[in-house]
Symmetry: C2
Subunit: 185 residues, 2 copies
């Protein structure tokens, strides 16, 4: 827990340590960011996703999904995304602006092999996720590698707000090599 | 806690009970939804907001903010919003599609009078929130009624996903009087 920030580099590193914990700690808020896309009718669409990879050096994140899910259709039309994580204990909000890339097919075989057997049913729901069905359980969940999809997320900006004794806010951007600037909170 | 849903009306009522708790219970996830807007450069923008009112009958929500905050500028250009709440204990995700309306000025005097004195400093930061500043604390937080703004949110759709023993998902829309339809999860 940190009371206040007055060093940009320290704040940036602190945020990344929390993000990376999400990869291994199921209870970390970073495990379940909210992903925002522009919906097919221009309406913002938000949903919880599971963070699978986070690479500070490359400033990239990774999320897995079913290629038939609506968000993939949305991302193919508009790859710009927002991501959001709120760490209640650390009183830190992270807002990402990023660009996504959709990956599918044989090159993902290695990653698929690492997906636990029980989790593979997340990729292949019949009918496709979001399809109207007649009763609550009128669907099946076979595992289907062809539906496995990785969303690679290249971060452009990170906007951090810390609600310490005094509030602080800073923006870190790829184009300024993450050097950061303070913002009025 | 609910194991599984197979009744649309019950699921819809259950979600509203959880939403309304957010108004009074500081620890309820509904207290802090994530609000998604379309940013000024077409990038989805997500941030935590505080839920101030929720009216099931009218299907409206209310959030307060500083009229000089970026989100108000964004909403004036594009009033469409997405909202997201994830209830970890209830294993329920609520995704709202909605249209917002910005209110400011003398008609809000009654609501302003109810804002606790210590909270009024959230409306009036100098320079305006998001402005670049030289050090982390180069800002002031005077209370300023003229900066007090209510975002009224008229819900169009609620998409509920419940991760019970079996997953269920349902969509409720204003235009079908919230009767609901099951979706493949």
């Amino acid at each position: 827990m940190k009371d206040e920030f007055n060093d940009l580099k320290e704040m940036h590193e602190y945020a990344w340590r929390l993000i990376i914990r999400g990869i291994v700690e199921n209870k970390s808020p970073a495990r379940h960011p909210t992903l925002g896309t522009t919906g097919l009718f221009g309406m913002p669409e938000l949903r919880t996703v599971v963070l699978r990879c986070a690479n500070q050096k490359a400033a990239t994140l990774e999320v897995h999904t079913d290629v038939e899910s609506k968000k993939v259709e949305e991302l193919r039309l508009n790859p710009k995304v927002g991501l959001h994580i709120w760490f209640p204990k650390n009183k830190l909000q992270i807002r990402f602006k990023a660009v996504s890339e959709i990956k599918t097919g044989e090159t993902l075989k290695k990653q698929w092999d690492k997906v636990p057997y029980n989790s593979r049913i997340s990729y292949g729901t019949l009918p496709a996720p979001g399809t109207s069905i007649s009763t609550s359980f009128s669907y099946e969940k076979p595992a289907n590698f062809e539906r496995f999809c990785i969303i690679k997320i290249k971060i452009k900006e990170m906007d951090l707000t810390h609600l310490g004794t005094r509030h602080t806010r800073a923006l870190f951007a790829r184009e300024s090599k993450w050097s950061g600037t303070w913002l009025a909170p």
